[in-house]
């Protein structure tokens, strides 16, 4: 107790890790679903997340809409944005080499960042305050914001909902079919475009939910906020096994915990925190190329 870490500090760090990890998880699901279907790293996903944060900011702080209306509008707009990106930037390239698709994704990401800088200026905007969610509560010597508890709960229920959707509904079945093989799915009478659009809709919707929760906890909105978060969440998806919803959640949590615990146990290395995600990624790819829960993929020859 005298040297090193007290139990309270450790528990507090665990809560920190759970909260940030669940946020990573929520956004990672969007990556994993798109990758599962298109085999594409949707580089723009982090920027869709950023745009969602701006939508909410404008709704509440500029147009003074009630929060529930704003949240609804944010989710709808973000879904439209995600589906629109797929329609105009990815669909025309579906038969093109993968590299073109990837470059297009990077291009969309770059465009959204620059557009946001141009339209909303590079200055941070203050995200509206939600006192009910952010005023800390004490549990003994632990201090927790309600939003930090809300985040893991929301993530958990969204995961359950998605698993149900994928495994027990017609849309989910179609998604699984498309993710295995386009041509076969087409022969089975599945409308590929519809399935891909709905995947983007779900992924973007989750990005919107993630953005709202993220900004409640970290209330500043910036044009470049999605870049690092986007990368980390993609890494989370890879750690868990890309294409797998449970894997994305697991990966997000692992990433969140490792970051916070590295800070906790090696305070001298805190400057290297952003490198943790990449180091984990490379280790995972070397030893478990399909992630923790991913299926082995065999290339057809």
């Amino acid at each position: 107790m005298v040297v090193g870490m007290t139990l309270e500090t450790f528990l507090q760090q665990l809560i920190n890790g759970l909260s940030i990890g669940s946020l990573y998880a929520l956004i990672a699901i969007g990556y994993t679903m798109v990758y599962g279907i298109l085999r594409l790293i949707n580089f723009a996903h982090g920027d869709i997340f950023m745009m969602a944060a701006y939508f909410t900011y404008f709704g509440i702080a500029v147009f003074f809409l009630p929060w529930y209306v704003t949240f609804f509008i944010t989710i709808v707009l973000t879904i439209l944005l995600g589906v629109g990106i797929e329609r105009f930037a990815y669909r025309p390239l579906r038969d093109a080499p993968k590299t073109s698709l990837l470059i297009s994704a990077i291009g969309v990401s770059f465009l959204l960042e620059n557009l946001a800088t141009y339209l909303f200026s590079g200055k941070p905007q203050a995200f509206p305050n939600f006192p009910l969610m952010t005023n800390p509560i004490n549990f003994g010597s632990l201090t927790v914001q309600p939003v930090s508890i809300l985040i893991p709960i929301v993530t958990f229920f969204i995961m359950i909902g998605l698993l149900f959707l994928i495994n027990h509904t017609k849309v989910g079945m179609a998604m699984r079919a498309v993710s295995v093989d386009y041509d076969t799915a087409k022969l089975m009478g599945i409308k590929i475009n519809g399935v891909i659009s709905s995947t983007f809709a779900i992924g973007s919707g989750l990005a919107a939910v993630g953005a709202i929760l993220w900004c409640m906890k970290y209330p500043s909105v910036l044009p470049l906020m999605g870049v690092v978060i986007g990368l980390k969440c993609f890494i989370a998806a890879v750690i868990g096994g890309i294409g797998n919803v449970k894997g994305a959640v697991l990966g997000g949590l692992i990433l969140g915990f490792s970051e916070v615990l590295m800070v906790a146990f090696f305070p001298a290395l805190t400057g290297y925190r952003d490198a943790v995600a990449f180091i984990i990624l490379i280790i995972i790819l070397l030893f478990l190329p399909n992630g923790l829960l991913g299926k082995k993929q065999v290339e057809k020859v």
Partner: protein, 387 residues
Amino acid sequence: MKKMLVLLLSLALVVPMVAGCSGSSTTAEDSDVIKIGVFEPLTGANAAGGELEVDGIELANQLRPEVLGKKVELVVADNKSDKAEATTAAARLIEKDKVVAVLGSWGSSLSIAAGDVVKTNEVPAVALSATNPQVTAGNDYYFRVCFLDPFQGTVMANYASKNLNAKKVAIIQEVSNDYSVGLAKFFTDAFVKLTGDPNAIVATGNYNTGDQDFTGILTNIKATNPDVIFAPGNYTESALIIKQARALGITAPFIGGDTWETNEFITVGGADVEGAVMSTFFDDTNPLTEAGKTFVAEYKKAYPDRENIPAVTALGYDGYMMTLDAIERAGSADPKAIRDALAATVDFEGATGMITIDANGDAQKTEAIIKVVKDGKFTYLDSVTVQ
């Protein structure tokens, strides 16, 4: 067909460029305007700071639009908060626009990047709020109107030790920001000297520009129970740090540097940044000089809807006024003559205090303002003199 189109498009991009280059403008002497370059980040990470300095420069230009009977024209170049762009922008100002002096930039590293350009082209530059010693070190053509990091670090260490009676301090620094790292170091040195306790810094946390989650480092710091937390760095991250610290139940006061003094610090930080203390260059409620009073009055006239006047705007104003003063004393718009006049500046009355340029090209200032956030405003708290 498509490829030809691309080719034509590219040609359309390049040809005017080259044409524009070759037909470049007339030389400074035979023109009846004097051009001064404004070298600031208007996009990218430092955009907010850049805009504030430009405000001050433009205000000064409106007040004093002529020197030596010639009209002064400001040429604004955006250095995009990026070094490669910064050097090109500086070269463009000097070569293409033929400016006789350069003002800026917010962000020491951008000024350092331009240092070489102004030095080789022998055009003087005046840094406004760049506090890093390296901006002027070894460069005869770079001057500045603000104080330096070592001074600011000492001021805050004094404040923490004397006014706040702190014995144990935790530091949170932005490792990827030269300003923050420098200030943290100078603070540490001064504070350890003041308290005589080599272990007076009980914890150090590092973060990177753009980070949003600081709960990990803050939890560590909470465990060391410091009296004061010194967190110099970018205003957005700093505001988030303070917010998260309060959410974790950390009650120790936060102190920082001049970069905090932006409206975004308060809008992002909200009620949680109440009581945050920072050192800065200028206070509009207590102008130190007559020039300061004029500046405040003019600023309020120009921007009646703005509440407080950022210090960097005052520095922008001072930079312009000092440069014009030098041009007047030089009696010519020749860059070299202006440089010599700038170097010889003694007791120039600026809005932020009396400015005397020393051998390094730095403004010798002995007084810093301490401000605190009170009721959502930056409020004058104290002024500190350190020799």
